[in-house]
Every structure is written in structure tokens, then in C-alpha cells.
């Protein structure tokens, strides 16, 4: 699995597209942070973490759209699936490679809390828990993007499907639904939205239910990806 992981990671690190996605993400994230600090005047990381689900909506599908669909398009998937490695190993190797890249992109945003700490009092545990929250949101979004990439040869279709599903999940826990649906339904629906669970982490609370939610999302979509590779139709 380590060999597969290295190959996947090297693809991104030897490819200008990988760096481009990282740089664009870091630029947007840092821009939004600076805007909050200097334009809105908030010396807190909360709005920075709060905007992440919407940034990930585009960033994660862009990162993950090629992971299987490109292999299907050029048929290198036939090489992978006829090597003596299991489908689970293939999916996990690709997942960990993308998660590593995602961690690198999060590292590029560390300038935000560091600079904030220089000008204001920052409660470090809250920042760490906030980062844990967006990390969990990111890796579960990666699993979703991987699943949709495994469904099609077309990267653009994979991207759009992932964006659509992540958007739907994000909307579940927003005020938008309250305007169109009864409160009882929106309260229930919001529990299935990642933004609802991210709020706990942003407040500095590690809620086991939220932890379970993100891990479930991650495991379910990785499992579905393995199943789709095992189909062999």
C-alpha cells in the first residue's frame, strides 16, 4: 500500500496542477482571513473556520476529480485492478495521498492563526479543535469526491457531482432551508449537514457525536468506493 501511496502523492507533487490547486486554496483561505481581520474587524479564527465548508465545496472536488476518473479514461485502472493488491488497498492509498495533500494545504493556512496570535490574544486549544474540525470535514469531503470520481470517466462530471452533493449537505444546516421547510424538518435535516457538526469544533468543543458523524461519512463513502471498484461490470 505504501508503494501505491507514494505513486499517488508523487503524481500531485510532480504535477503543476497539484501545486496550482494548493496555491489557489491557500490564497483564497488567507484572503478571507485577512478580510475578516482588517475589513470586518474580527480578531478570531471562527469566521475563518466557518467559511471552510464553502471553500471545500470547490477545492476538494477539484483535488479529487481525477483520482479514479482519469484512470478510467486512459484505462490505467486496468493495470491497478490486475495487480496483486486489494481494492481496499487501492482506495486507502489514494485516500491517504489526497489527505496528505490536503494537510499540506491546511499547513499553508497556518499563517492565519500565527499572525493573529501576534496582534491579539488567541486561545490555542480552540484553534487546534477548529483545525481538527476542518480536517475532519476535509477528509470526509475527500471520500465523497473519491466516490464520485470512481463513478465516471469524465473528470468534469465527477467534479460537478461532488460539488452538488457537498452543496446539498452544506445547505442542510443553513438558515436557507428554514425559509422553505417547517422548523421541525430543518432541525432534523441540519443534523445531517457537516456545517452543524463543524460548529461544535469551531466553538472549541470535541463532541463525540460530531466526531462520529464525520468518521461515518468518511467510512461510508470509502466503502462505497471500494464496492464500486469491486463491481467489475
Amino acid at each position: 500500500m505504501l508503494t501505491l501511496y507514494k505513486k499517488e502523492l508523487n503524481y500531485y507533487l510532480n504535477n503543476v496542477v497539484g501545486y496550482l490547486i494548493l496555491i489557489i486554496f491557500a490564497a483564497f483561505a488567507n484572503f478571507l482571513f485577512v478580510k475578516d481581520i482588517f475589513v470586518v474587524g474580527t480578531a478570531s479564527m471562527k469566521s475563518f473556520f466557518g467559511i471552510m465548508p464553502w471553500l471545500f465545496l470547490v477545492f476538494i472536488p477539484a483535488l479529487g476529480m481525477r483520482i479514479f476518473s482519469e484512470e478510467k479514461r486512459v484505462n490505467t485502472i486496468e493495470i491497478l485492478l490486475t495487480l496483486p493488491v486489494s481494492e481496499t488497498q487501492i482506495v486507502l492509498a489514494k485516500f491517504f495521498a489526497m489527505a496528505t495533500l490536503f494537510l499540506m494545504s491546511l499547513a499553508l493556512t497556518l499563517a492565519a492563526p500565527i499572525s493573529l496570535a501576534l496582534i491579539a490574544r488567541l486561545y490555542l486549544p480552540e484553534v487546534i479543535v477548529g483545525y481538527l474540525g476542518i480536517f475532519l470535514l476535509g477528509v470526509s469531503s475527500i471520500a465523497i469526491a473519491m466516490f464520485f470520481s470512481s463513478q465516471t470517466k469524465n473528470q468534469i462530471v465527477a467534479f460537478l457531482l461532488s460539488v452538488l452533493v457537498l452543496f446539498f449537505l452544506n445547505v442542510l444546516a443553513t438558515d436557507f432551508l428554514v425559509t422553505v421547510l417547517p422548523k421541525a424538518i430543518t432541525d432534523f435535516a441540519s443534523y445531517f449537514g457537516p456545517i452543524y457538526h463543524l460548529q461544535n469544533f469551531i466553538k472549541g468543543i470535541v463532541d463525540v457525536r460530531s466526531l462520529f458523524y464525520f468518521l461515518s461519512l468518511l467510512v461510508v463513502f470509502l466503502f462505497l468506493t471500494v464496492i464500486s471498484l469491486e463491481k467489475r461490470d
Binding site: 490505467t76 486496468e78 495487480l83
Partner: protein, 226 residues
Amino acid sequence: MISFSSVTKKFHQKTAIDKISFKTKKGEIIGFVGPNGAGKTTTMRLIMGYLRPTAGKILIDDSDPLENRIDVLKKIGYLPENNPLYQEMRVNEYLGFISDIKEEKDYLKIVEQVGLNDVLATKIEELSRGFKQRVGLAAALFGNPEILVLDEPTSGLDPIEQEKIRNLIRQLAERKTIIFSTHILSEIEDIADRLTIIDNGKIVYDGVKPKGKGAVEKLFKKTINY
């Protein structure tokens, strides 16, 4: 040993392979021929467990290639149709990747055997078709497989490269069971011990290769619907 018992493969309503049965013997070289769309590639992919049969049973050394996938795949080297490769990788990176997975210890020996020494640092996308085919063949040889499944190994090559690849297959044939598909009937005369003709998903001939120049072509024309 590869064993197919009444194997059928359907893609939606289209039957690609229709109740085919055959068994290979150790050390045999079997040439699969047939027109385009006859079912050659589907048969190769079924052997590799890349496709799941709709009906029937496939066994590789008494193991199901889907149930005991990893064990079975350790025994088979595969060169897929059109030889898909990671074009952005260098030859040594790609072969290093495959040899690591297949735990090949004699990496350099195989590289030398297939004649890739001089292009190890070259990007795969910059190689000629002949060299790309050699890369695919080297990858198939890693792990010292007992069986080689080669789907049109000389397709798209010029006559000189075709001859070089055929020579390589002849060398390998001393130690392995080889199943290869081809459009080139003279290739069967050159390399194969046994001939299998497939047409419209059915095996229409399976037996000893007829001897004599042009005998394979004559049999081929007689057995398939032109």
C-alpha cells in the same frame, strides 16, 4: 492451469462471450484469434478477474480469480490491450512501482532481457510504441508469473519491432504458460502450440495449430463467418 467452464459474459443485453469452455496445460502457448469484437479481450479480462462472468466458472490453478484475487494475480503477468501506462512517469519510476508491488528481486535482469536499459530515465510518453510495449511486457514479467496473458502484444508495431517482441515471447515460452491474442495469423504460425479461434463470443476451433505455411489462415477463413 486456466479453466473456463461454460463462461458467459454479457454487457447489458449484448453477449460478448457465450458459454465458452477451455483448459490450458502447463507450458502451452495458446494463440487466441478472431475478428474485432469476437470476445478476445473480454476473455483475457475474465482470466485476470478484471471482469466478472455473467455465468459459468473460471478457475486459475483451482482458485477463483475474483474470490482469491491477490493469490491468483501473483501467478499471472498481464499485458492489457493497447498497453495502458502512466505516461507521465519515467520508465524506471513505473517499473520500480510495479516491481515493488510484485516484489520482484531480479528487476535489472528483466529490464535487460526486454532491452530497456537505455531508456530507463525517459518519460514513458516520449517512448516509441515498440519501447512502450517492452515496458508493458517487463511489467507483466515482474514477480516471475507462471502464466502470461498478452492481449495483442504486437498490435500497432512495425514489422521489425513485431519480430523483436515475438522473439521475446519465444524466449519466455520455455518456462511459462502463455495465452496471447492477435489479429496477425502468421504470429500464430510463428509462436503458438495451440490455436483457439473465437467468433461472435463462441469458440469455433480449439486444438493443435495446423502445420504448414498458410494453414492457420485457411482454417481461420473456414471456421469464421466472413
